[in-house]
């Protein structure tokens, strides 16, 4: 008797499950698949293109107008690559070091926290400097376990940023590095470290206002 009840319960459950499955499939099938390729014959394609040009032409042009003019920099923060580009052409590809993604918390005082990520999005070169001097921010002293100095001159350190520095906003720079063997790895505090030769090329070919796109 018990076995019979169990069997009936099992059949009912299975039937309900199949009923739900079929209903779900039916509901989903009411919507056409988005992956279906569009069926268009050649003449129709030609005619459509003609109409598109007329109707969407301005929108196409407006979209194209948004793209950077002249030279621009693209930085792949995951692949640690910098591309110097002009239109679709890549003028230079350099191995760089982007942000480590590490976290630093101040052990005392204000207990501030810093996350060493390279920024993402669109920026532009604001200033260009030869032989830049690093004005060490607070986190540099916290990281070393040193006391944060009050005077700006106590924060200055030369030779750390290489021969050139290109600031692109929010305190971030494209600069040189002493740690060339770490190029290609995520080791910086958010800045983009570039090897000497590549840095020189980037510096020489990018005027102030050059777009920097990081992703």
């Amino acid at each position: 008797m018990k076995k019979k009840i169990l069997l009936i319960a099992l059949i009912i459950t299975a039937s309900l499950f199949f009923l739900f499955e079929i209903t779900g499939w039916y509901l989903a099938s009411r919507h056409a698949s988005a992956v279906k390729p569009a069926k268009e014959d050649a003449s129709l394609k030609k005619r459509t293109a003609k109409i598109k040009k007329g109707k969407n032409g301005s929108l196409d042009e407006r979209l194209r107008a948004l793209s950077p003019k002249g030279v621009y920099i693209v930085i792949d923060t995951s692949g640690n690559r910098l591309y110097l580009k002009k239109g679709a052409e890549t003028m230079l590809e350099a191995v760089v070091s982007c942000g480590s993604g590490n976290i630093l918390t101040e052990p005392s005082g204000k207990k501030r926290t810093w996350v060493f990520d390279s920024p993402r999005g669109e920026y532009q070169i604001k200033t260009k400097v030869v032989n830049p001097i690093w004005v060490k921010p607070d986190w540099a002293f916290v990281e070393e376990g040193e006391e944060i100095p009050q005077k700006t001159e106590d924060r200055m350190e030369s030779g750390m940023l290489g021969d050139y520095g290109l600031a692109f906003g929010d305190g971030y720079l494209i600069h040189g590095t002493l740690y060339t063997r770490l190029l290609g790895r995520n080791v910086s505090h958010g800045c983009v470290r570039v090897g000497d030769k590549d840095l020189e090329a980037v510096y020489k070919q990018t005027p102030i206002g050059t777009k920097v796109i990081l992703f």
Binding site: K52, L59, S67, I103, R120, E122, G145
Partner: protein, 213 residues
């Protein structure tokens, strides 16, 4: 004879109506797509475009392609998507990457200095290889993109079969549930190369926008 002519005319008329309909549809979708992209390209942010037909994902900014990754396989389930930007609300995976914490303690740093150089150098960083390869991106309007790696081998094959079974069994149930709740439901499954899956996880952050077409 007359009847045949009338029928032929009706047939031609129908054919013309149908072809103009297709053209209008294609035109409208292209226009919608351009509008959607134009809206995103005006902002100084990175956005993504998933082309389901050509099986490509584009990383874009200001209308230019920054990176293009191929999709090995696409599965689509549910409601058709509008050519509008979707916002990514959440990324979920079994192994969320963990950031290293820098210890500013001087004593610890001194101990580290005294270590053998071979033992000492261990790079602490969150890198591409730390990103998960299998994850789900939850977008607004109940759109879910699940990403799985396209690896070969017996274990990967079994994993892939289990995923396929889960996909075909669970999707109908989700559809019923969301129909009852009167919510749209769309699920997209993407199979990507390992590095491409990790790259997408890295670059597509919460709040980021994507256009699916």
């Amino acid at each position: 004879m007359r009847l045949r002519t009338i029928l032929s005319l009706i047939y031609i008329l129908f054919a013309l109506l149908l072809s103009s309909g297709t053209r209008a549809e294609a035109l409208s979708s292209k226009e919608e797509l351009l509008h959607a992209e134009f809206e995103l390209a005006q902002k100084p942010q990175i956005y993504f475009m998933l082309n389901l037909r050509d099986k490509k994902i584009y990383f874009k900014a200001r209308g230019i392609i920054l990176k293009e990754i191929p999709v090995e396989d696409v599965k689509f389930w549910g409601d058709l998507l509008a050519a509008t930007p979707y916002t990514m609300a959440k990324k979920s995976s079994f192994s969320t990457p963990v950031r290293d914490t820098i210890n500013p303690n001087i004593e610890e740093a001194e101990k580290e200095e005294k270590k053998d150089p071979k033992e000492k150098f261990q790079l602490k960083a969150l890198e591409l290889s730390d990103m998960p390869v299998s994850y789900t991106l939850s977008l607004d309007d109940n759109v879910f993109i699940s990403v799985k790696p396209g690896e070969k081998g017996m274990i990967a094959g079994l994993y892939s079969a289990a995923n396929a079974l889960n996909w075909y069994v669970s999707r109908p149930l989700y559809t019923i549930w969301n129909t009852i709740k009167k919510r749209p439901y769309t699920a997209i499954h993407l199979r990507l190369k390992k590095e491409d899956a990790q790259s997408l996880y890295w670059s597509f952050v919460e709040g980021g926008k994507i256009i699916i077409y």
